[in-house]
Symmetry: C2
Subunit: 458 residues, 2 copies
């Protein structure tokens, strides 16, 4: 509980931007995952880096937990204030601060969302490719090292964040990185904060790398006889180095869910790949010819092309709504989303085993995947306590298989609350100790998003 | 000085792999820069990660400085043992441990050089693109966040290191990263160690991302009327998003030096761009047509194509020898290499100002650059003390201009000894304090490569 005297000081700082009503606190008690809701004691809507710095100075003085909050669209509970304290909402920090068209970069406040940024830069012929589906804030995306459908070609937030403005636990404002394309000047603080889920500092501004809009964009959908055929065609596409912009898998169950939820007509309830190709006219033609040939050799049918922008948008909207479509398969069910990523050579066995195991157990567990990266999700739906327990075991087996294959327990969602137990399994005790020593150096009082990423000490 | 008792313990560990002869110590007292030589007290040739761990345990117990040494080809003094102690030579750790052809990755010991790796993977149709010119060790390249001529297309060591094995100051062995293409699991220790120049741990193994050999490679050279025209054509090439594999600038003075040193025939002593294009037949044709048009519109002449592999190798060998060619302009002169990198829109003004200033001062200072990244080098040659003082001032002015333009004091060589003073100018005091807190957490005794990267405390 934040003491009344501290609430008074926060109110003196922020006026009516400090909120303690139940409805506002409830909005900040959850994300889109099935993780248990926990109310913050109060919510403060920051409007500037200085605001955040003032909050952190006070938080340091009072040992008050501070949990940064963007759009609440995460699915690992990173923004849930599990130890109470203050939810620091950055959504009002929503200004695009600069767009450097000639240098293909931009600086935004942390609350700017990816769609908002894309609106702002579209007239300049530019776009920002990282697309986790939800219209997340760029500060939140940096914090969770987000990626999504375009990462196979354009990389993740790791590759597309050039620099950051960060407020430290003690309330100091630091700048990391810069606008140069590369630098060998000192420790890579930018990459350290990217993916640290608000546990090392509060990101208030993000300098981003932008990309020129491709001359030609083409989207297609291809249905496969078998899941294995679909995955194998992806593996060969990647091994050949075809620069596909998107290559997304939906298994038959996910297709059933998406057809119903997104009213997709004329699609089959069968393993399906959604593709997107970016490049020059000739380049796209070359890519699509290669990919279509690989698909056909693995039991893929005709390519169904989405020629018009509207048709393309409808397709990707359906892909992005896959999680909501999955939830609609069993309204009221508890969801748990796996997010493993493995070396591409191990992708087929891991996807097939995940599907086999959940079907053998009689679970509803549709699969979608950014398979070009070796990353896939299983949306486990638990209709009762028995299924919930079962899912815990199946998910653990899936993660262990992925780590055993040289992969990771989370490709893009982050560790948050629920995957802390896998950190040492994946990285080893020594690496986790090194992470803990960084946490101790940056946040000795443990006030920055406590209970996340690192396992509890002792 | 390492005490005799400690030397005895080192000898007990390493036998005759511990060397204290003057000639061996001299080989480890310098790199290829003009930085003053400093002798280590002893040199230990490690043969395994366990060797390194044993050395670090002893070093921790005795507070002995340890300076990792690869090939000694750095040019910022990172491997010079400025506080004495032990030079830890990793060159005998030269095994390629695994090549995962299907996943396009490999794991190597830190002493494997980039040419050795490329030899090993060529039969599999793969290559490793990072090419700083010298045949550096991959551990050293990771430590300095190296890049070079191919970075404009393939990124730097930051983007191409997937994971590391690192020995900590206390002698623990940790693994960072993994083989998955992306991961959101915890703090990015890999990127933290990459570029830390041996001050946070000793890198003993590197997991690297590989690339498929392009179907077609084409190299060309184009001479320009003016330096400005050459630079402007590069800027437009990058802004258009042409995926050139290499685009390298040599100014007229550097061309004079290289023609003489590398016996290049038929080239003019004029501003020149060296290009390389990778892709499919059609893709390369498309790229070269665009680039040739841009060059012509900025006073570029005919493209001189290097069709044959031998001719191409001769060209790039000459480019790689540029530093040695520059040194040969004034044998015995003291050299000081600038390594600034700026946003591409500011490249022309920065390059032109650097050339104008050094010529106005009557200095020999040829310019080369990985200009597609906005990165260029000025090889300042000081023939006497007066010139040496002058160069210090010109270099400072150049760095300040670069940082003012949003750039960095070092694009790829690292901070080492000489650029520590610019760290706070570039990143701000707050970021340097954050770096110092990491150093303190990872190396509380200050035994890992002391006197490098961070400014001295107090």
């Amino acid at each position: 509980m934040i003491e009344a005297a501290i609430l008074d000081r926060l109110r003196a700082l922020a006026g009516d931007r400090l909120q303690t009503t139940l409805s506002i606190r409830e909005q900040h008690s959850r994300d889109e995952s099935g993780h248990a809701h926990v109310l913050p004691d109060a919510v403060l809507f920051a409007e500037s880096t200085d605001d955040v710095a003032a909050v952190m100075r006070l938080a340091s003085a009072c040992r008050m937990p501070v949990v940064p909050f963007g759009t609440g669209t995460g699915i690992e509970g990173a923004s849930i204030p599990v130890r109470g304290g203050l939810s620091l909402d950055l959504s009002r920090m929503d200004r695009v601060l600069e767009v450097n068209v000639d240098d293909l970069d931009a600086r935004v406040q942390a609350g700017v969302t990816r769609l908002q940024l894309n609106e702002a830069i579209r007239p300049h012929g530019l776009f920002f490719p990282i697309d986790p589906g939800a219209d997340a804030s760029l500060g939140g995306m940096a914090s969770t090292r987000a990626s999504g459908t375009n990462a196979v070609r354009y990389g993740t937030m790791r590759e597309n964040v050039l620099g950051l403005t960060v407020v430290t636990a003690a309330g100091a404002v630091i700048r990391t990185g810069g606008r140069a394309r590369k630098s060998a000047a000192g420790y890579d603080l930018t990459r350290l904060f990217v993916g640290s889920e608000g546990t090392l500092g509060v990101i208030t501004e993000v300098q981003l790398r932008l990309h020129g809009q491709p001359e030609r964009i083409a989207s297609a959908v291809c249905t496969f006889d078998t899941l294995e055929g679909a995955v194998r065609s992806v593996i060969e596409t990647i091994q050949l180095g075809v620069p596909v912009a998107r290559i997304e898998l939906l298994d038959d169950l996910q297709m059933r869910a998406s057809i119903a939820y997104s009213k997709l007509e004329g699609f089959a309830e069968a393993p399906t790949l959604f593709y997107e190709f970016h490049g020059s006219e000739a380049g796209v033609a070359e890519q699509t010819a290669t990919v279509a040939e690989l698909a056909a050799s693995h039991g893929g049918g005709e390519f169904r092309w989405a020629e018009k922008t509207e048709e393309r948008n409808r397709l990707w909207k359906a892909r992005h709504a896959a999680y909501y479509a999955a939830l609609a398969l069993a309204p009221g069910a508890h969801s748990m989303v796996a997010d493993v990523c493995v070396p591409i050579s191990r992708l087929a066995e891991c996807v097939l085993a995940a599907q086999r195991d959940s079907r053998a157990a009689g679970l509803l567990a549709p699969i979608v995947g950014h398979v070009g990266d070796g990353n896939f999700h299983v949306a486990y739906l638990a209709r009762d306590e028995r299924e919930r327990a079962l899912i815990g075991r199946l998910h653990s087996a899936l993660v262990e298989r992925a780590i055993d294959a040289g992969g990771t327990c989370t490709g893009e969602h982050g560790i948050g609350i629920g995957k802390r137990g896998y950190l040492a399994l994946e990285h080893g005790e020594g690496a986790v100790l090194a992470m803990q020593s960084i946490k101790q150096a940056f946040d000795p009082l443990g006030i920055l998003n406590p209970g996340k990423v690192l396992p509890d000490a002792g």
